[in-house]
């Protein structure tokens, strides 16, 4: 496969105008311009993404999709300040250049088993980021709130390895929520879970999203999941990849697992996203 020399750069702002809920222009949370990523290996650098441009607006729920290897996770790591793009790229968080994890931005990792601490109980896992930063009383309150929000109030004293996969991922979400984040970066958080657990966690995430007003950037390879959750879906295309499509999702909230997913608008979008992902750049 040959990489296209002229990357398609559909910009996010054009899509925003059509967004139903955004009557007032919301602040830009993340601004990525000319974002290029090269990952080094022993055989030299491989270019993962080239000239990626997009904005994430405050309070927006945005999903990033693409074939495997298209750099979805890499993009998320860059937003989270865990990986640096090439020097001529520009990534800004509320106008500030991202160098290291920005304040208020919390990542939820796909591999919950590796990112929870098995030697700590559920509540102590959730409290991890608060230790030494807020007072003991406040920490206790925040942990209790976060666990209640994901429905794990009764398992606070358990160890994470005694919980099911879905519950462990809830613990990780609670750990993020306890930090009162303004942005949640989620890297295929439900990818390893069975279908039933997945749908109930999607609904819980939407409730959390409504209640906290956080901005969410969500990476997934499940089209239904991306459309069901998001205000907008970005599709990465090509190799090295760039943003091929930026599709707004005009489905009203609150959403419903059956009704939303069977609505005409949803099905039409589903087809569009599928075609966008499968498209090859010759």
């Amino acid at each position: 496969m040959q990489a296209s020399d002229q990357p398609i750069t559909q910009d996010a702002p054009t899509a925003d105008r059509t967004e139903p809920q955004a009557q007032v222009k919301r602040k830009v949370t993340f601004q990525c311009r000319n974002l290029t990523v090269e990952l080094g290996s022993s055989e030299g650098a491989t270019c993962i993404c080239r000239s990626v441009n997009f904005d994430v607006r405050e309070g927006e729920f945005i999903s990033i999709m693409g074939r495997s290897g298209s750099g979805k996770t890499t993009l998320l790591r860059i937003l989270g300040g865990l990986l640096a793009p090439t020097p001529d790229s520009s990534v800004r968080y509320y106008g500030e250049r991202v160098e290291g994890p920005p304040p208020g931005v919390i990542t939820v990792f796909q591999n919950y088993a590796a990112s929870l601490l098995p030697w700590r109980t559920v509540e102590k896992n959730v409290a991890l980021g608060l230790e030494g930063k807020v007072g003991r009383e406040e920490a206790r309150e925040r942990v209790a709130d976060a666990l209640a929000m994901v429905g794990l109030g009764k398992r606070a004293k358990d160890y994470p390895w005694r919980l099911s996969g879905g519950m462990q991922q809830r613990v990780q979400l609670a750990r993020a929520l306890a930090m009162r984040p303004s942005v949640l970066l989620m890297d295929e958080p439900f990818g390893a879970l069975d279908a039933m657990t997945k749908t109930s966690l999607q609904d819980e995430l939407l409730q959390v999203y409504e209640r906290t007003g956080a901005t969410v950037v969500f990476v997934t390879h499940d089209i239904d999941e991306a459309l069901y959750l998001s205000d907008r879906v970005l599709v990465l295309q090509g190799d090295p990849s760039t943003i091929g499509e930026s599709l707004p999702v005009h489905c009203s909230r609150p959403r419903h697992q059956i009704e939303t997913k069977q609505s005409e608008g949803f099905l039409a979008l589903r087809r569009k996203v599928y075609e966008a992902i499968m498209q090859r750049h010759e």
Partner: protein, 263 residues
Amino acid sequence: MSSRSRRLGRVNWPGLLTLALLAGAWEATVRWSLLDYQYLPAPSAIARGARTLLASGELIPNVLHTLMVTLIGWSIASVIGIGLGLLLGLSPTAYRYSMTSFEVTKAIPPITFVPATLLIFGFSLRMELVIVVYVGVWPVLINTIGGVRGVPGELLDLGRMLHMSSWTRVRKLIVPAAVPEILVGLRLGLTLCLVLAVVAEMVGNPAGLGHALVRAQQALQPEKMFAYVLSAGVLGITLNALFRSAASWMLPPPAGGPEGGTP
């Protein structure tokens, strides 16, 4: 279930039966002269030898000496191994500069240093301790480095994302994540320390089980010699069992390694 009956339930009775049968077979072959060597005693003779040693007060001091040297040497080795292991595991520079030396040194069987140590330190307790510490450092060092360097990337990302200081990251994420591997190293080290303590006593320091064993051999007293051999075995099993229960008390089950059977 009471803790007592649970402990009885955990004893591997079929395994003990096999052991008893083997001892019985040994007894029978020696008694009926199927195995006829002048210096091969039957288990009953060894038991008599052990009783004589206990009564004369020779056994306990020798066991205590070996136990003491093993534990002191192992403690020193563990402190060095964990300290150095953390340094090398955490600092890529230290790792790069020292790994070649370690690989080369590690390849030399520690037992080959015994004569050299004897030459340098003479017939002394110090000689025995040097050998025991040296052999005990390796597994602890290597497992500590492996444990620290093997910490999953997610945990390192987590520490950065939560804006932890590097000291907090080491204390709250890296070291606890490395504990299971460090414990494996400590356990291997303990076994090796006991073995090399006995070896050092055989050739160098005139004290403890190793020395007593060789003396019994030279005095042509096989019952006593085998009694010392078995004592070293019992000492090894006891130390191992104590270590396991201490480790399982320290760790929650999943990180405590695979389910252990009875020794």
